[in-house]
Symmetry: C2
Subunit: 553 residues, 2 copies
Amino acid sequence: MAMQRQPLLMSRLIERGAKVQPNAEIVTATARGTRRRNLAATRDRAHQLAHALAAAGVRPGDRVGTFLWNGSRHLEAYHACAGMGAVLHTLNLRLGPADLEYIIRHGETGIIIADADTLPLLAPLAGRVPSVRRIVVAAEAEGSGSPDTQVAPAVDYEEFIAGHETRFDWPELDENAPLGLCYTSGTTGRPKGVEYEHRSQYLHTMALSMTDALGLSGADAVLGIVPMFHVMGWGIPWAALMLGCKQVMPHRFMTPERLVELMAAEGVTLSAGVPTIWQGVKTVLEAEPDAYDLSALSRVTCGGSAAPPSLIRWYQDALGVEMIQGWGMTETSPLATLSRQRMKHEHRELPLAERLANVAKAGQLLPGLELDIFDEHFNRLPHDGESVGEILVRGPWICSDYYKDPQPARFHDDWLITGDMGSIDPGEYLVIADRSKDLVKSGGEWISSVDLENHIVAMDGVASACVVAQPHPKWDERPVALVVLAAGADVPPKEILDHCATRFAKWQLPDDILFVDSIPLTSTGKLDKKAARADLAAQHYRLPSLRDAEFGD
Amino acid sequence: MAMQRQPLLMSRLIERGAKVQPNAEIVTATARGTRRRNLAATRDRAHQLAHALAAAGVRPGDRVGTFLWNGSRHLEAYHACAGMGAVLHTLNLRLGPADLEYIIRHGETGIIIADADTLPLLAPLAGRVPSVRRIVVAAEAEGSGSPDTQVAPAVDYEEFIAGHETRFDWPELDENAPLGLCYTSGTTGRPKGVEYEHRSQYLHTMALSMTDALGLSGADAVLGIVPMFHVMGWGIPWAALMLGCKQVMPHRFMTPERLVELMAAEGVTLSAGVPTIWQGVKTVLEAEPDAYDLSALSRVTCGGSAAPPSLIRWYQDALGVEMIQGWGMTETSPLATLSRQRMKHEHRELPLAERLANVAKAGQLLPGLELDIFDEHFNRLPHDGESVGEILVRGPWICSDYYKDPQPARFHDDWLITGDMGSIDPGEYLVIADRSKDLVKSGGEWISSVDLENHIVAMDGVASACVVAQPHPKWDERPVALVVLAAGADVPPKEILDHCATRFAKWQLPDDILFVDSIPLTSTGKLDKKAARADLAAQHYRLPSLRDAEFGD
């Protein structure tokens, strides 16, 4: 033995923030303002919560469910579970009752900590989740008492933790002990559980804090908009606890107006959310360009799905804010690749337009991971920016199988088959072509729905766009674009097609443009293409025969 | 199992740089200019070197010695040894023959890669290091043939690697397998070996690349002045290989003039060295303020010993360069604490003077480590900035014992007793008071030699200063200051004492000021207080009796 053999436990990382920055603020939005508490007090309450959970019978390895918005008590649950060795089972607030019931039963979750306003979503589960023996209710106004639920005996969060010691002597666990459980939002079949471990999340947290990742620093004030029930909030709460960042949490107040107010009032320097959030924030800021001071904001991190280049450009030009794009999934903890404006020495001289073009890509693989693209026979494809293949990834924060699931994760050797298709350019940037199931396969050639969407949404007057495949007797599949126009805008379909024709080949153009009022989103805010396809099917939508003729035969 | 169980091997990290930035340059200074090669070619040569070493009988776990300046071939040796699982035994070029012989024999090192100009330093070892079976000689002009040595059969580096495959299939090792061996320069007794492991250095490399550490990025051009034979060059070569940084290496051309020329010519953004280096660079720049364009330079990292606040201030004011201060030692891989101008949210509003005052401290502990100060009974001391105690540290990149040494590292429970004394202020910044053996104990009270030195060296006309304890019949020890004046300067001793009296109590002032031509330095560029004390003893120096009277009795 030459070096100390300490296990890589999250408890070793997350105690640091409160130690070096005890006065950093944890700010949670409330109906009428904010609730504020410093990091030292938040840490003390996390230790109290751990004692309360232990007193309620929670042992290392037991699942503790959270049915919570982003807020200080969700952070306390993160801290308490990681410290005591319980498994944080983050329940997605946007799941339907059937999936919710499934993941609680499947996770055998005993205690659920829930925000008071979410109780109606739990109500349909009464009598259906026998493992749940207690609901700890986080009332919006602290100490306002606990509403009753039919699901299990309820106790008010503040009563639950009151009187417990503010120091819990965290146990020495195996570094591969489970830390968290997160179910994929599953566009097909049952949700599948991914179990994070202390070691995997420890390494992910360190990677996230690198300069060439989010560049997260203890000097940052972070607004995590991505829900903490979604892939551990992309790992940001862990890194922020480690560094002692100020954290601002929107709770259920997720309107773009409120988010912008929070950013301005709290001097937020870094925020993280999906593209639809940043689209909404942009709309608010465009409407009132001088109403908010966002001068502290330097970076917004965009993940979940690809940000359109026009959106990246707008944040740079209008706000001087760097949009950081990342790619990953529940199975990858989630961060696998990341794109920033300056990651290479040669980027120092690169014109802005080219730097932004790089950011529109999914980015470079994080240190410690391996990633490549493969054809259907698992031959590696060239990194020429043209060849599109299935993306495979492996590394110490990539999952190896699903939690207690007979259906294994899809693997080739020990590489995870991600289900995303992409190319890698000569600069080693990954470019996501599409989810493999969202690619449109027309006449044996692939058409990227994402590329078409990004191009359409860059047009003035277009608010959002969703391109999906429709079955076609001759070409197998053909693309159709669903388009939401901005309020008051009038863009004829032909104009959209002409715009697409400036970049895409004729055979790649959508066969039809359908104007809709809204596009269905998944529980994590992505375009729900499965639902969009189902909507079209339910309307007995058929491709216009016109286009057939144009292709010739 | 839920997450992949890949071992944390350095081979997983260091291949990344050449992959994402194949064209990044590795620049090595030569007598007449520079030798340049890109990172992809350097990686290929490292793989060739590994094949050559394997062909010469090197197996995983075997020690490979390097007797090299900082240069591309030293980097190739780092890469090759880490990849193939050999143990990189960096031999300190500044050791005397007896210590050098000891560490080669003790390390049972079989092959030594040496720069041609260092062979005379090896010559006294002829016939005394039986384990050495081959010397691989890195000639300054590549392919200029190999000088003979009496130590062991010699082969030219280029001939040694020529013709070997440029891809070595790195083996799967245990993550706790040894990676490197570095002997402490040992101010007392025999050098002691610290063996780094793949896992420990992997974690250290990730920590080094965090924003709140060196903020190292793939966009940086790094000039590592700290020798690569000294605690693995503070880990910077590993991090730079991982990120794909441009690396500039000074080889033996370590004059301040040459270093400044390299920084200017190569657009260096980050450099790392000991305070004496930065003092020398400052002198060059002050002499010719407009001769060099250092506008790319943003950070210089200072370690090994504390940088005087006046020096930190000068770099900020004259160059707009942030000096980053760190603390650590061979036994801590080395980085344990680090200080930057902005590490906390509240630092954003902090006036420059206070930010610089923070940087003058040793800094905050890195994520993943624990550190505290203790009294002689191992009770923890308060973090009040006043209480001085022995610094203890533990964590996954802290050593647990010395390499094959009956003399164990000093431990309390599983904490390393560092031998340094310090305080921790209410902002959780570590402040080094002194090496425990360099503190002056006068009348039962401690006097910090470092504090006195920093204060004296801030005076105009003073080039450097070294304060050491001298035995005293009444007070046990009393401080004496050795002072080197700048060329042409004339500063009377009384002026120095008066200057010290503006900050220190009367009993803390040096009993004498001795002007000397130079102060002895250790092999790692620190003030050699052991040698300074020995010099004084050899001169039968006695404290002036005058001061006794002043203390009263």
